[in-house]
Symmetry: C3
Amino acid sequence: RRGEMAKSTQLIDNEVFRAYATYTGIVLLKMMLMSLITAYFRITRKAFVNPEDTATFGKGESAKKFLRTDPDVERVRRGHLNDLENIVPFVGIGLLYALSGPELSTALLHFRIFAGARIFHTFAYLIPLPQPGRGLSWAVGYSVTFSMAYRVLKTAWLL
Amino acid sequence: RRGEMAKSTQLIDNEVFRAYATYTGIVLLKMMLMSLITAYFRITRKAFVNPEDTATFGKGESAKKFLRTDPDVERVRRGHLNDLENIVPFVGIGLLYALSGPELSTALLHFRIFAGARIFHTFAYLIPLPQPGRGLSWAVGYSVTFSMAYRVLKTAWLL
Amino acid sequence: RRGEMAKSTQLIDNEVFRAYATYTGIVLLKMMLMSLITAYFRITRKAFVNPEDTATFGKGESAKKFLRTDPDVERVRRGHLNDLENIVPFVGIGLLYALSGPELSTALLHFRIFAGARIFHTFAYLIPLPQPGRGLSWAVGYSVTFSMAYRVLKTAWLL
């Protein structure tokens, strides 16, 4: 049993894997934060999508007017979906990248730039900042994931 | 070659990892089920979004009336998207958590509560149950993922 | 330090895991490509959703007319979301499957069929091909993931 535990902690003892775990934890928590921001705007803007969510505002027609879209809610939701589209590939490819034996400094560079770019992207989306701020931060994160995918495919290639 | 296979099964021999694999399999299959439910409602409600999907119902104007949104279809799709937003962080953070060497009983507690909460969330969304049923089940799953992320970051932290 | 690196590359030395890494890299890159195709259609069709994205087309009312939905843009976005709904389970379940010690030939069969089905699905969605082309390719990818999940749960089952 002791041996099993030792085995299970091998990966987490590896520095590159620890860095991967840290940055994956950070970007996934950042993505989860979007749910809370959406809920905050839905409640303060009184803009819901499910009839059962408006029951506390009264019955019948008086509650129906809260079944509507709100620009702020929709903006957060677009940011959330963009996170899913970009953070999912980072998490999947990043794991394989971390297991492909890169230098710690190179791996940290990838992870730090990605996390920074995605955090900036969220601010750029929610404030919103004028373009090309959001577009560039998206492209930076995208390029980092692409660079990791290149190393993964070069190292692992078995079709 | 034998040695390689042995190596590859180390992780799956670890009990915490086996528990992770079981519950991840269950919640991902549950998420995949949402596609089937969406298809079921699209076909029974005759509510499609792609013109090529309505071709079996006739040509031209007679088929066009099936290009419409239906409340039941949209409800399942919202449940599906909510799954993506919450099960993706569970799968990613849960893997790192399982590799961080937690006690089996603590890990099982996390995985069981998350799976239970997400299965309840789906029923709460589709029936639908009155609030705060759905909201609470969402919050329970969210908290479990957050608790696992806390341990991952505490164990792995390397910025 | 050398020992750590050796440990970290164990998984990537395993042939089944290398095949998993290769096909996961391919399907995640394919999914990422959908972002570029969406951007291409948004720019060529001049159909945007964020006011700040239309600033280069002039100010005020003249830019507002580009805040609209376009059928081609929406079609790519639906393909992208369908990728998320299907590739996320493949990546998560596929990792556990690769660690469950399957025969290399069986694993390759699963990965190749899934990747082929999803690439076909994208073409079927974007061209678009008449049904049931897209539906069948979706079902094939879905079945492969289901088959891998069955083996994972059979091997790992610990509830």
